[in-house]
Symmetry: C2
Subunit: 314 residues, 2 copies
């Protein structure tokens, strides 16, 4: 089980390698929503996303416990860069299995951190088999993108900073996106320990609505369909993340892609910062369900800013 001490130890472990990211506010967005919004800018984090926190905590733990002489994962997204970056920081080899169809720019970014990219067919089975082969051959330790206590404890440090920097009186609500549930779990745990009166809400695209169903049923469910611009939020929960979320999260709210794109554009235009589609789902929820947020102090974790500028949705 993750305790406050686990999270604090994670924070101490990763602190030399991460940014303590700023919290921004915006008058126009406050006027528009009637809420007081406080945006924790993990788009300014190392590798451009909060995933650096969890990846670092897991990789540093591998080093501290001498669990292995390399790390491996499969990912086509920010977690791939996070593990590659973390491994470079500590001098471990990293093997990243990526679908051969992943954008060249993402493969290049991972290689830019010195990791080895192993291409595979673009199926979940091929990705998992590819990683297993690497582990068997090299003795690398798997760093799962979310179904991992070290990763979750690392992701919890974003909310820890947000809550600690904010001081009193506490937030009414804290919002994060939910994909596999690592960030939402970590955020809910940190909030439970550090700001117990604050409610945590997970925000999910309608086109990858597994978490809202799992939250209701108590079992890991699949999304009815997968079709969303939020490519970082397509994964299902695990038993582990569902457990933390059922225990410490108040609600999961969903929004359609049109709302996500509109919210993303609003942040770009009004806050002058770059966020990726998966990151915009939180503000989209605030705009879609205004009655739940008006008059409230709301912490929002902006998760990442890695977009392909050649393929913008507007």
């Amino acid at each position: 089980m993750i305790t406050l001490d686990t999270i604090r130890a994670a924070h101490d472990r990763i602190r030399p390698h991460i940014h303590h990211t700023p919290v921004l506010t915006n008058q126009t967005l406050n006027d528009r929503t009637g809420a007081s919004l406080f945006f924790k800018c993990e788009n300014f984090q190392k590798i451009g996303a909060f995933k650096a926190r969890g990846g670092l905590n897991a990789v540093l733990q591998v080093v501290d416990t001498k669990a292995g002489k390399a790390v491996a994962t499969h990912s086509s997204g920010n977690h791939a860069q996070a593990v590659a970056y973390a491994a470079r920081q500590v001098g471990l080899p990293a093997y990243i299995v990526m679908p051969r169809t992943a954008p060249q720019v993402k493969k290049d970014a991972v290689r830019g951190y010195g990791a080895e990219v192993i291409e595979c067919e673009p199926t979940q089975a091929a990705r998992e088999a590819g990683v297993q082969t690497i582990i068997d051959e090299t003795g690398a330790v798997l760093v799962h993108p979310y179904d991992d206590e070290w990763v979750i404890a690392g992701q919890a440090t974003a909310a820890t900073e947000l809550i600690t920097d904010f001081g009193q009186p506490p937030f009414d609500l804290i919002l994060t996106p939910v994909g596999g549930g690592g960030l939402l779990s970590g955020t809910a745990l940190a909030t439970h320990f550090l700001s117990p009166t604050t409610r945590v809400i997970g925000c999910e695209p309608e086109g990858a609505a597994d978490a809202v169903l799992s939250f209701q049923s108590g079992q890991v469910e699949s999304a009815p369909y997968i079709d969303t611009i939020a490519d970082g939020l397509m994964a299902r929960l695990s038993d582990r993340t569902l457990g933390y979320i059922r225990q410490h999260v108040s609600a999961i709210l969903t929004v359609p892609d049109a709302d996500i794109i509109a919210a993303m554009r609003l942040v770009w235009e009004r806050m002058k910062i770059i966020i990726e589609p998966s990151c915009a789902v939180t503000l989209a929820v605030v705009l879609r369900y205004p009655d739940q947020f008006a008059g409230k102090k709301v912490g929002v974790i902006l998760t990442g800013g890695n977009v392909d500028l050649g393929k913008l949705p507007f």
Copy 2:
């Protein structure tokens, strides 16, 4: 003449209405340039650009001295929004003459601040005549975008914050774009008073290269041709701004548009913040003339982030 007291009084006057903007750094850009770059983020300023500072100082001065019951200007850019915003803050009517060909989104933004937009033919003569008519009819006071001591003193407050927040040892260099020269003049004056060992460099597009010629000749020159994506930097210097620049600026360096676009993209991708083309000319200069900046501590004023997301150059 503008003194340190003038600038400090301007800062006190406008402080309740502006953001004290943050200074960001970026490891990738430092590695790439060999310099230590400190970016003063006026793209996060009210109205999305530093122009809010000068506009406010001038408009507040009109109120303090009872110089008139309204303000007027002609602009199709950030100065129009700055004057409109400033006038709304103090409850004065504002009349903004804009070419009828200006983008609807810019006219709407000005109207959104409660100012009256007067459309004119898209020529300099029509703009000036339009403003004169307004002044004659309403008794409004002209707020010139740069040929104005109050405006220059207001723009000087950006460098004042940058220098004061940075502390010791001082910057080796501070860079700003140069169009009409209001920001460059204010920056050079503030730096002269507060950090006299720091050199100030103006950065100009090759496609609007009037300031570099005027700096050499000592007279206000026209650009050989006007053709640049940096639409905020097309104006010529005035005798006033040329005087300040000749006195306190070390050099003016020019860059082609391809460099400006590449620098803009680099900031978007690496810093995850939105800057407009006119704002990217400073980093473009650092990248084009690396020998002048390697190993140096360089303050860079990021001037604005107002871009039409539907018309990006990449």
